[in-house]
Subunit: 162 residues, 2 copies
DNA sequence: GATCTAGAGTTGACGCGACAACTCTCCCGG
DNA sequence: CCGGGAGAGTTGTCGCGTCAACTCTAGATC
């Protein structure tokens, strides 16, 4: 019965349309972010996560956990953003590893303005395009998908800002 | 009225969950493709598009149009895939530009098997997770979003394989 | 207290994706 | 015949994202 054969043309088309919609939407939003705030989606995510920490410094591992990014990705991104002056790494131990990560003043300014602008774009391009029924169905599917695909992350948490 | 203020926390969470679900799903599928077929999502898209041309050679511009990829992206991808032996560029004019693109035997083999395997993964991870209601709502939203965000592409067309 | 190991972070390499600049050909008007 | 522009492809550059390899520290074990 459930022999899992490949897809019917109609199913392929569904899949293709869905992927295309996602891609167009995220592309549009990312372009807006770049155009209006001169930051990338990755920068936005990191800025917001640190912003939500409200001044407290975060560890790389925390960021990695909270964003669900590979640690090396966080590290690379921090390096780029340190160059741009958005974040700083402050050393703990005498000389070695164990850095804490915090926003610079510049980073705080960028985060604050980006949240406003990007939030507006999300509303215009996504939220406003949904009927109430679509919103609730899509929300339900998303939660269900996250629960299924993200075994860990059981309690509290909930945040991030892809 | 429609003063487009930024988002409420609840709206941010919706957005975040949705993005997260998308990312988890595409990550899962891409890993499956890499694991089972040793090809990337980009390679898959290109292979399938050429596969559907059923032996006919395609122009770079055609691929670009059909996949909705930047022409330079197509060109870079072709260069990588030529190295892997999946595609070949055949020259037209005496010496200059104007290349046609076709699959190699290796490319055809890879395309065929990838369609089976990846199709099955899509069914398992996506289609099977949808109730009929969710499926129809999501399909409707996708079509609506594509229509809104993709002004061109009015007639015929329809295909691709993100 | 010397060694072993687990954890935290970094680095390097490489493919993907976007953008801008460049090349070449072809065609068009003079 | 020649200069100029439009269209097709390519190339370079840089940021994003993943994987594997490496470094350093701190704790555990003997």
């Amino acid at each position: 019965m459930t022999e899992t054969r490949s897809l019917e043309p109609e199913e392929w088309e569904f899949w293709d349309t869905w992927m295309r919609a996602q891609r167009l939407l995220t592309r549009e939003l990312e372009r807006g972010l770049q155009r209006d705030c001169d930051i990338s989606k990755a920068e936005f995510s990191l800025l917001v996560t640190l912003w939500q920490a409200a001044g407290r410094e975060m560890r790389v591992g925390e960021l990695s956990e909270s964003l669900d990014w590979d640690k090396s990705r966080v590290s690379h991104q921090l390096t780029r953003m340190e160059k741009r002056g958005f974040v700083k790494r402050t050393q703990y131990g005498a000389d070695g590893r164990r850095a804490g990560v915090g926003l610079t003043a510049e980073g705080r300014r960028a985060a604050q303005s980006a949240v406003l602008v990007h939030g507006g774009n999300i509303r215009r391009h996504f939220l406003d395009s949904l009927t109430p029924e679509q919103a609730s169905v899509i929300r339900a599917w998303s939660e269900q998908a996250v629960a299924r695909l993200e075994p860990h992350r059981s309690e509290a948490a909930g945040d991030g800002a892809s």
